[in-house]
């Protein structure tokens, strides 16, 4: 893992002290809210419906036990004893008071964390595959590159007042778990003739106008990455629209100018920018690689795992659902679900955080990850430790076996917290998860991704959910639109809007009808929902959603 050097520590300390001063000046009335707002946003501080909200970056989703324990400490001392993990690998505290925020930032700095550029029109927290450095299908660990991008983008003088926010995601695996095609820039590590490089995707994004990103170059040599990124952001910073915030993101710029023209402008800019990079970035990258060296994997017998797997059906169900293939023999990647049916997706209590920190230190080479799907990952656990790990997780309600299933729902905070929301998301997620748990159907249904957003900004990724739900305000009543067939992976696709929306009361039965239709229509248990959808299209699912239309037509 990356550890801060003296420069990093002093940079964060200076920044925190500046913000402390800005907060004081806001409180004594020397700064108006209009003056203070861009300053607080630069430091991750929002004002939401009921309170302030502090969004803390977990760079590329990686943290260690000490950092997780500090997040728990902050939750207890200055918040209400929990935190909310988000779809961009951040943690949000929902209840801080303004005067306490500088102390919270200092507490974060103690463990090498910050909230810089988690908001505002800046380059945001760079996100990465949550299985990075562990997954069996990986070409290379993307995190050293992600750290390079974090350092380059943090306080970059050219990119502090852009047309809008800018999000970068990176994966080192051909199986895209980082939603790279729905980011302003998506990077996929690739190899050509033995040389490492990137496929660069630009102009993806969800929100009001969902777009799947377009490939601007299919092979960028590794040493050209930063000058190329700088060129892309620079071109957009100049020609991106500032007249209309809904048309400001690079997806609209790419759409309006065309990918060929953007490519030409970027190449033109690159020719100038490239010369200003002395090569120090590659020296730094080589250093960062040593920070992310793989742990010393141990070789030991797996008999304990096999015994538990055959004798304990609850452990077996969890192992079948929550484990993924690791690159090292004898190891597994553990996904800890923080989505027990009926709980708030992505929320973890301080006790849960401390337990996960302890378990990472005891069994997981002191590493944790936050996934964009709002779960916590222990990337390196030896199979022989899994029964003990599972038993410990049960103590804090963290052993739910539902990864990838219908109750493993992404949900944004929605109108329970968010000032931008048009409807609630959390209660909908709670009801769907509880309903299918009551029916004892979720393992039968298999892999099915439900994603819920409480407004058109799509923080809940509803466009790329197999079943997407968008909460809107229709004449003063919460109303939910359903999209079907979305895909967030390397075969990314925006879902199809099914038709008119549902009230909160109508919605859960409607989702149940769609799932029943899938169970009737699938060729067998090994055909997942999305595969059945691709085979048959919208029509049979639409008929299930709207039986009254069928009745009218008959």
């Amino acid at each position: 893992m990356y550890t801060y050097n003296d420069f990093d520590k002093s940079f964060i300390a200076t920044r925190n002290s500046q913000f402390r001063d800005q907060v004081e000046r806001r409180i004594d009335g020397s700064l108006t809210e209009d003056e203070f707002k861009p300053l607080r946003l630069m430091n991750g501080l929002y004002l939401q419906l009921h309170a302030y909200m502090l969004r803390v970056a977990i760079p590329y989703g990686t943290l260690n036990g000490g950092q997780m324990r500090q997040l728990a400490f902050i939750a207890d001392k200055w918040d209400k004893g929990y935190g909310h993990f988000t779809t961009r690998q951040n943690i949000q505290y929902n209840w801080p008071e303004l005067r306490d925020v500088p102390d919270m930032l200092d507490a974060l700095a103690e463990v090498g964390m910050h909230a810089i550029q988690t908001s505002g029109n800046t380059i945001r927290n760079v996100t990465a595959d949550h299985f990075a450095g562990a997954s069996a299908d990986e070409i290379a660990d993307p995190r050293p590159v992600a750290e390079l991008i974090r350092q380059w983008s943090t306080d970059h003088p050219e990119f502090q007042f852009m047309p809008r926010k800018f999000k970068i995601a990176i994966t080192g695996s051909p199986n895209d778990r980082a939603v790279t095609r729905a980011h302003d820039i998506g990077l996929r590590m690739v190899e050509k003739d033995g040389e490492a490089g990137f496929e660069v995707i630009v102009g993806g994004g969800l929100g009001r106008t969902p777009m799947i990103g377009k490939v601007i170059t299919n092979f960028l040599p590794q040493e050209d990455l930063l000058p190329y990124l700088e060129s892309v952001v620079s071109v957009w910073n100049q020609i991106g629209r500032r007249d209309n915030k809904y048309k400001a993101r690079i997806k609209i710029t790419v759409h309006e100018h065309g990918i060929e023209e953007i490519r030409r402008l970027v190449n033109e800019r690159f020719a100038i920018v490239k010369g200003s990079f002395s090569g120090i970035d590659q020296v730094r990258l080589a250093q960062y690689k040593t920070h992310f060296a793989a742990p010393d994997f141990t070789v030991k017998a797996k008999a304990v795992f096999k015994d538990a797997y055959h004798s304990d059906p609850i452990f077996r169900s969890w192992a079948d659902t929550n484990l993924s293939a690791h690159k090292a023999d004898g190891y597994s990647i553990v996904s800890i679900s923080i989505k027990k049916q009926g709980d708030t997706p992505g929320d973890a209590t301080s006790d849960q955080m401390r337990l996960m920190a302890d378990l990472a230190e005891t069994y997981g080479h002191n590493e944790l990850r936050i996934s964009h799907e709002q779960n916590v990952i222990l990337p390196h656990v030896h199979k022989s430790d899994l029964p003990a790990l599972h038993a410990a997780l049960k103590e804090q309600d963290l052993a739910t076996a539902n990864i990838g299933l219908i109750s493993d729902i992404i949900a944004c905070p929605g109108m329970d917290y968010c000032a931008l929301a048009t409807a609630r998301s959390i209660p909908i997620a709670q009801e769907i998860a509880t309903r299918f748990d009551d029916l004892k159907l979720e393992h039968e249904i298999g892999n099915l991704k439900i994603k819920i957003s409480g407004c058109i900004n799509a923080c809940g990724h509803h466009h790329v959910g197999h079943i997407g739900i968008l909460g809107l305000d229709r004449a003063g009543v919460e109303n939910y639109q359903v999209t079907l067939g979305g895909d967030h992976t390397e075969t990314a696709k925006v879902g199809d809007r099914a038709g008119h929306g549902f009230t909160a009361k109508e919605l859960v039965p409607a989702i149940e009808r769609v799932v029943d239709a899938y169970l009737d229509l699938r060729t067998g248990k090994d055909e997942e929902f999305i595969e059945t959808y691709r085979r048959l299209g919208l029509a049979p699912f639409k008929a299930a959603l709207y039986p009254e239309a069928q009745a009218d037509a008959a």
Binding site: I27, A51, N94, D416, G476
Partner: protein, 98 residues
Amino acid sequence: MSKSFTPKVVTANDLLKGDVIYQTANGWTRDLANAEILTDEAHADLRLIEGSQQIADVVGVYLMDIALDGTAPQTTHFREAFRAKGPSNYVHGKQEVA
């Protein structure tokens, strides 16, 4: 003909705590029941300006619609109902102290 004026309350968030507050005749309250009810448009606009000037105490001042149940103000939109109560997933916010 202009739309007839419906009763309103001046609302905002507290600068330090960030929670929802409502204007009274001589300050702010955390309880909607104690808010100053504005039934005259010109007076409401004036009270909004007065509230907005208190930059060292409050943030995001605006006029919210209410309905009157006798003399008691009631929210008319679900967003304001959530602001007046707190989130639905935990007993936090105003419902915590209620």
